[in-house]
């Protein structure tokens, strides 16, 4: 079989497995799978920046968090927001924020970019943490999940965890497909060209700044989608949603899975969340509660990945094949 056929078969098998999960698994598993899919969307959005455009952002959680806050602020207290209006609103807000921040941080490059993105996300963190615009450091609760009634028709009920899973799965597939198309398009190739040699792309006549900014905005909107879903799932938003710990964790997912490839960040998100779950249930070793201090084995795992698996798990799976 050719490589494309293997990939198509694998994709179909995985999709069927994911779609049939709610019929066989328990509630916890389904909710955990939902969480993985949401983080996978988040990681894929960052991969557009890091893997495709070569822009290492350490502030990507800003867009994730702002969309979550958008849902919280647009939900009337103890009542549901409308899914069909609040989701686009949250994504547009995240996109608008990305436009402003991107216009500033894209003036820099390399390490400056890393630090500047970090600093801007922290600025928003403190805005929400120190003022009482949206609940201060405690954040806000979303008591009821968004309601999906559209002209009297109600296609799904997000309060049911099975329905919620399917909605997230559908959005995940759409984002995956969208990013696949984007990658193969002229836009995607220009972005990849900028990563390799921006000077050359500019002399070829491409307005590279605009391409990078567009890329930054798209990545911000998709992160917003993930943040909206996460806020809806957990029913709570707080400043940590924009914090640098989350920005670091999602960058971890991208690198762990493997940059550049479409499936890499998805594998990374699943691997990191499963590792976290595994480490949290570690037994005590020599009076040290490893389960409580699960970040210790996690930190060691991250260090080992950085040193010995710099191209991620996805590269490991197709060993022997030259990278693209």
């Amino acid at each position: 079989m050719s490589r494309t056929r293997i990939l198509v078969v694998a994709a179909v098998v995985i999709l069927v497995a994911l779609a049939s999960l709610p019929f066989v698994a328990e509630k916890f598993t389904i909710q955990f799978a939902t969480r993985i899919l949401i983080m996978a969307i988040f990681a894929m959005s960052l991969n557009l920046l890091v893997g495709q455009a070569g822009l290492v952002s350490l502030g990507h959680a800003a867009f994730f968090g702002i969309a979550g806050y958008c849902l919280a602020l647009s939900s009337p207290q103890y009542q549901a927001a409308n899914f069909w209006t609040s989701l686009p609103l949250a994504m547009v807000a995240a996109g608008a924020l990305a436009l402003v921040i991107g216009a500033l941080v894209l003036r820099t490059g390399g390490v400056y970019f890393i630090m500047a993105t970090l600093a801007f996300s922290q600025m928003l963190f403190f805005l929400l943490h120190d003022t009482d615009i949206a609940g201060g450091s405690d954040g806000m609760y979303i008591y009821v999940r968004p309601e999906a009634t559209l002209f009297g028709w109600r296609p799904f009920d997000l309060e049911k965890f099975g329905d919620f899973y399917f909605v997230v799965l559908a959005l995940f597939v759409i984002v995956f497909g969208l990013l696949g198309v984007l990658r193969a398009s002229l836009f995607g190739r220009v972005i990849a060209g900028i990563r390799v040699n921006e000077q050359r792309m500019r002399s070829l006549g491409f307005a590279t700044f605009r391409y990078k900014l567009a890329c930054f905005v798209i990545a911000g909107m998709l992160a917003g989608l993930a943040g909206y879903l996460a806020a809806a799932q957990f029913g709570v938003v707080n400043p940590d949603m924009l914090g640098w710990h989350l920005s670091g964790a999602v960058l971890m997912m991208v690198i762990l899975g493997g940059m550049g490839s479409l499936a890499g960040p998805v594998i990374g998100a699943a691997a990191l969340l499963l590792l976290e779950l595994g480490f949290q249930s570690l037994p005590d070793v020599a009076a040290i509660q490893l389960g409580k201090h699960w970040q210790l084995p996690m930190g060691i795992a991250i260090v080992l990945v950085a040193l010995y698996l710099p191209h991620g798990i996805a590269r490991l799976l197709r060993r022997g094949k030259p990278g693209d």
Partner: protein, 298 residues
Amino acid sequence: MDIATFLIQLLNAVQYGLLLFLIAGGLTLIFGIMGIINLAHGSFYMVGAYLAWSLSMHLGSLWLAIPAGIVLSVVLGLLIEWLLIKRLYRLGHLQQVLLTYGLILIVEEMRGIVWGDEVHSVPVPDLLSASVPLTDTLSYPVYRLGISGVCIALAVLLYVLIQRTRLGMVIRAGATNREMVQSLGIDIDLLYRFVFALGVALAALAGMIAAPVSSVFPGMGNQVLIICFVVVVIGGIGSVKGALVGALLIGLVDTFGKVVELKVGHFRLLPELAGMSVYLLMAFVLLWRPAGLFGKRA
């Protein structure tokens, strides 16, 4: 604001700025010379503060705790460079970010295991516990003046070491061309191990001398790390002079942002938004000079 209050806040601002310089200076030195972006730098500040607390308990005095703490943090720096950082030189920025992020988690949890998660305070040493009277009611603690003094002395020392000694010349030459220095018969790897340890020791020392005024708590490292990033971005990455100017600017903006009251209409901008002020300053600097105040343009 009367003149005495202003003077007190100004001294606070300078002291905070100089303390930031000790940490940010090490961060920018490690980046400028070794090309390593070290997210775990703030963790060493935290380790320093915890060392000051636990050593001064065991040894009975901060005066003994500080030299012991410096020795320990140099050893820690050498060990981490030898174990991990030296493998990063051939890898990209991304792997550096990843590894040092992992290092933060490790240090944070080790701190939890060894010292616990409680907040501690370190008493100011008797010798420096006095205050300088400014007016009838206001006075300024000698210990804070002492912090500023130590920081200034170290800044001068650092300048002399890097710019005026043969060793500093070799270190600077290594930043420009590593292989060339190596082939001239200088063990650059060993030298850089000590540069890294110097950076670690500076951050830890900052934590140690700050401990009596700021208290010792988990997460204090990350807080200071982010601010140091802002300092370094404002000053220009790799520039020690930039770090000094940036740190003082941040000290002024942060301190006065918290005490000045600024109203636009009915909305109080300051001190409500003081937490944001330093990041706004950074945004302006990036707009004006994308490579920082003293950075080299790419």
